[in-house]
């Protein structure tokens, strides 16, 4: 990728799309060319009057990310100015040094930025939160805001285009990954797990691996469904088994949520998963899932049972998906940052 300065425009949109490709201004798909007028309108909608305002920095790369950079990416991803109230806090999360945007982009883990939207804004902006809610919902607001987050990761996380990414596998979410929660939930809004008030609208982000489907159609009580989720979390290839720091989001489908919530509070369900997602440390080591000289920080204790989680607060529940099937999904977080980061949408 090479940033080559501002391009002078012309009136041929198709030609400008090609010019964006040629300049490395693309995620691999055609973009809306970031014409100055469109970018100015988008930036205003995001609440930044000055295009040169520095919104964030990646000190290790000597990068300063301005309002214009972000507004251009929002235009290119196909967002509408009406999404500005979500894009503003999302942008601030993406450039927060705690999120480690450059690490997210270049890691061997091949992760994406998972965006979670919860609260009244889901209905207000018309996010799809039922059919194919975890991916491929074919809904503009989901697809374009999810794409925007990946574009910011791509455009700003590579040191100005000089760093290669090392993602080993990657996953389709690196093009767009946004999950919206049902406006009405069994356990309360997602963001209440992160300390925000229930009545708020929120956007949250987590660097994540790809989602895994969890199918249980015939378990009629909470325990067998949670056991199935625990089994999916606890497979020996789960990245967090060694590192132990990453967060994970369980996207609970409405049928599973109804069944589980009939007998378990959210905290009880979290505790159940924490206590039932276990393998023997020695077996993991024999498989090669734990290195011969483990780091102290990973708290490897031979001869014990091991959870992929250091503590149960690393597990979060998100209620989304269509009624009908009895599916859930797990989304493993990246092990390089430890948090799901939330922000209120005004």
């Amino acid at each position: 990728m090479a940033g080559s300065g501002n391009l002078t425009g012309n009136h041929d949109v198709l030609a400008d799309i090609e010019r964006c490709f040629e300049s490395g201004w693309s995620d691999g798909l055609p973009v809306v060319p970031p014409y100055r007028g469109l970018v100015d309108d988008m930036r205003e909608a995001m609440g930044w009057p000055d295009g040169d305002e520095i919104v964030g920095a990646i000190d290790a790369q000597r990068l300063e990310i301005t309002a214009d950079h972000l507004a251009a990416a929002a235009v290119m991803s196909g967002c509408m100015p009406e999404y500005g109230r979500v894009l503003r806090p999302l942008s601030e999360l993406l450039v927060d040094p705690e999120f480690n945007l450059s690490g997210v982009e270049v890691t061997t883990g091949g992760v994406a930025v998972m965006v979670i939207v919860s609260g009244p804004v889901v209905a207000e902006l018309g996010f799809e939160h039922e059919a194919n809610a975890v991916g491929g919902a074919n809904c503009r607001v989901n697809a374009t805001i999810g794409r925007y987050a990946q574009m910011v990761r791509l455009f700003c996380g590579r040191g100005g285009g000089v760093l290669p990414t090392h993602g080993t596998m990657g996953h389709p979410g690196r093009l767009s990954f946004l999950v919206a929660e049902h406006p009405d939930t069994e356990w309360g809004p997602f963001h209440t797990q992160l300390g925000l008030p229930a009545e708020a609208s929120a956007v949250s982000i987590m660097a994540s691996e790809g989602p895994n489907s969890v199918n249980n159609h015939y378990g009629s009580t909470a325990e067998p469904i949670l056991d199935t989720i625990a089994d999916c979390l606890g497979h020996s290839g789960f990245t967090n088994y060694y590192w132990h720091f990453g967060a994970t989001i369980i996207v609970v489908g409405p049928a599973h949520a109804e069944t589980i919530a009939a007998t378990f509070s959210r905290d009880e369900a979290r505790r159940y998963l924490f206590e039932h997602t276990l393998r023997t440390t020695d077996h993991l080591a024999a498989l090669g899932r734990i290195p011969p000289e483990p780091r102290e920080k990973s708290k490897v204790v031979p001869g014990t049972l091991r959870s992929p989680f250091d503590h149960e607060e690393q597990i979060h529940f998100l209620e989304s998906g269509a009624p009908g099937g009895r599916f859930s999904a797990i989304v493993p977080g990246w092990v390089g940052n430890y948090f799901v980061m939330p922000k209120v949408i005004d």
Partner: protein
Amino acid sequence: MDTTGELVNPIPRPRTGPFTVRTVPEGAQVVLFDNGKPNSMAILRRTQQLLRERGVDVKEDIRGKEFAGSPVDDQTLGMLAQERGLLLLGVHD
């Protein structure tokens, strides 16, 4: 839709002054740096041993960063910049 005028660059460029990179070591010593990946210290220790068996001077101290996912801090980067030998930075899993 306004499709006139400039196209706005979405990619920030590094804002840094000129700097010099030595492409040839000034000293006949190998300096190892641990990037925090699971096996990297084990591999670097083995590298140190093999190089020494072949008569190569390898610095005993292997500096590292606390965690693979985090960037090298400025202080450590400054110390590495003072090294005059061949600097080998980390290994993958």
